[in-house]
């Protein structure tokens, strides 16, 4: 029984400019104790999909799915109260800017007490022990002075650890991290990633990490989902995707990462032409079409997600690790 299974989740927004499909047939299957990455550029719909699963998407949206189950229980047929209870007990989320998640008017002790109270730790002694336990778990020392501090007195790295500790308060089975390291310094990024990996092992928890940074996801994650304009365009085991990407977008994205530049100093670097289309004006057929170096007439037909192997890809001409195709796909400087 998978921890979380989602089939064909679609999110539409009704706006003054018309109906917009922000997430198009999103699927994911998370097993216990695994580390999933969702990668995509801005507007890809990665945060939205996950927020919809947690029930945090705003009202003017139409959410539909063929299947949505958590721990084997069908969330679509449950009533609102039991669904909320189950989701808040089993799933937790941390966001990009820890300063936005913390109230600047109260110190850390007050805020953590509030959360723990809501999660059932009624006596203040219980809460105190639990707070110390949690803050220890996330690798913080000087806990007493941290608890007395206000958010503006602590660094982003420490604040993010506090958020992680708070997220762990209910002992969730699934932790979702939405770009947790984007606003941190390089060294803090490494530390937070190490912490998250340790926590997964120790607590047999699953983690979904959303990011736009391949480097971050490449070594630690087990599975990877690549999104573009609300669609999943590639998904599968991380090693396979990184070493042999099958979708031209994934290939180009991997080639664009500065670490993988093998060209001479100051020579042009591999790139993908054009820019991400607006969701109001998506191209006909394959969304990557106008930018894709190997697009052809067939690409005006919408490609379907090929799920025959465990390496899913949505493309009419997936790369087959063929030397010829490789050369074609290395896009020249636009």
């Amino acid at each position: 029984m998978s921890l979380l299974q989602v089939e064909n989740l679609c999110i539409d927004f009704v706006t003054t400019f018309g109906k917009v499909r922000a997430v198009d047939n999103f699927n994911i299957r998370i097993e216990h104790g695994t580390f999933h990455g969702i990668i995509g550029e801005s507007g890809a719909g990665k945060s939205l999909a996950v927020l919809a699963i947690m029930g945090l998407v705003r009202e003017n949206s139409v959410i539909s799915a063929d299947h949505l189950s958590l721990e084997g229980q069908d969330l679509l047929t449950m009533n609102e109260t039991s669904r909320r209870k189950l989701v808040y007990q089993a799933m937790s989320i941390i966001f990009q800017e820890p300063t936005n998640s913390l109230n600047p008017c109260f110190n850390i002790a007050y805020q953590m007490n509030e959360t723990l109270n809501a999660h059932g730790h009624r006596t203040s002694k219980q809460r105190k022990t639990r707070i110390f336990e949690l803050l220890n778990d996330v690798g913080l020392v000087n806990i007493k002075s941290i608890l007395k501090s206000y958010p503006h007195q602590l660094t982003q790295g420490i604040l993010q650890r506090i958020m992680i500790a708070t997220a762990l308060a209910c002992d969730p089975l699934l932790l979702i991290a939405d770009e947790p390291t984007t606003s941190l310094d390089l060294s803090e990024q490494v530390q937070i990633m190490d912490l998250l990996t340790r926590l997964i092992e120790r607590r047999n928890m699953s983690l979904i990490l959303i990011s736009h940074d391949f480097k971050l996801l490449a070594d630690k994650t087990d599975h990877l989902t690549v999104m573009y304009c609300g669609q999943i365009i590639e998904a599968g085991p991380t090693k396979e995707i990184i070493n042999s990407p099958r979708h031209p977008y994934t290939y180009a994205l991997l080639a664009s990462v500065p670490d993988s530049w093998v060209v001479e100093h100051k020579a042009p670097v591999p790139t993908l032409k054009g820019s991400t289309p607006s969701l109001y004006h998506l191209p006909v057929g394959c969304y990557l079409g106008p930018r894709c170096p190997i697009a052809s007439a067939k690409c005006v037909q919408r490609p379907l997600l090929d799920r025959t192997s465990n390496h899913h890809v949505r493309c009419h001409f997936p790369i087959d690790n063929d030397a010829l195709t490789h050369n074609v796909v290395v896009a020249s400087h636009e």
Binding site: S278, H281, A295, V328
Partner: protein, 297 residues
């Protein structure tokens, strides 16, 4: 070889299809409010043609009810008051007094407020200290109390009431202007404009003020409704327009004695004030939506 033929047409960029006016029109209540205000304006302008002198007293024609009442007559559309003056004419003339004075008052406060706001935002330090603390003092005193002080010094009257209300409105404009200018000044495109060689005056006029205009417009409509209520209140209390001026607040005070005998003489100016303030608020709300939604796309 990458294919050069582009089978996709170039992307159509989203043009802002709706102008400010169209968004405003979309809001029914705001449009209704604007229409009613226009009607009022029209009536005030046409007053010499459609109404008689509001000061004529006709002892024999006193306390006549409005025309739809059995005892009323079409000569006096809304009836007459205790001194036989036609209420309709008084109301129309009063519109120009109440609304007209308020508009002038707000315009004055706007001008002074913006100028002080620019001064304070440009020169920090001592000048800022003095001006902002003075504004704080004015804000701390309720507008009616300021009016009493002004009236005690200068005597009652519509103009003095107007001055008092104007003083009371200035601090809001100063604060708003100052905070928006400071916020704009910290934006990179203002720094970029200076680095493009723009002199400080040009930066202020062409770059900062246009971006500050929107919230100022909204504050103006809020201040307008406050001004109307304040001037009417002052008229009611006897500090503002003095009898026999047909200012709506003064009319309310005068009609108190005949309230039970001729309720229409107190209801009509009351409703007039209510409707006007409501319409201004609706229009202000509509403007708010139109301006802010545009800047969000």
């Amino acid at each position: 070889m990458a294919r050069e033929t582009n089978i996709y047409s170039p992307p159509v960029l989203p043009q802002s299809k709706k102008s400010h006016w169209e968004i405003f029109k979309h809001d029914t209540s705001a449009t209704i409010g604007l229409t009613i205000l226009f009607v009022l304006l029209l009536l005030s302008l046409l007053s010499p043609l459609i109404s008689e002198d509001p000061h004529i007293q006709n002892a024999s024609a006193d306390l006549i009810p409005p025309s739809w009442h059995a005892a009323g007559s079409p000569d006096n559309l809304l009836g007459t008051d205790i001194l036989g003056r036609d209420l309709f004419s008084r109301l129309i003339k009063g519109a120009s007094l109440t609304i007209g004075t308020s508009t002038i008052v707000v315009a004055l406060a706007l001008l002074i407020g913006i100028s002080l706001g620019i001064l304070v935002a440009s020169f920090r330090g001592f000048i800022q200290l003095i001006i902002m603390r003075t504004m704080d003092v004015i804000l701390a005193i309720p507008s009616l109390v300021i009016a009493i002080i002004v009236v005690a010094i200068m005597g009652p009257g519509l103009m003095n009431a107007g001055i008092a209300v104007s003083i009371a409105l200035v601090p809001n404009f100063v604060r708003l202007t100052r905070s928006y200018i400071i916020e704009e000044m910290s934006k990179p495109y203002v720094a970029a404009a200076r680095l493009d060689g723009a002199k400080p005056g040009r930066v202020l006029l062409k770059i900062i003020l246009p971006n500050v205009a929107a919230p100022l417009i909204i504050q103006t409509t809020i201040s307008l409704s406050t001004a109307i209520v304040d001037i009417a209140a002052l008229g009611f209390l006897g500090f503002g327009a003095q009898a026999p001026l047909p200012e709506w607040g003064t009319m309310l005070a005068e009609a108190r004695t005949s309230m039970y005998v001729a309720p229409w003489s107190i209801i009509t100016p009351g409703i007039a004030i209510l409707v006007t303030v409501l319409c201004i608020n609706l229009v202000g709300d509509g403007l708010n939506t139109a301006i802010n939604s545009k800047s969000r796309t």
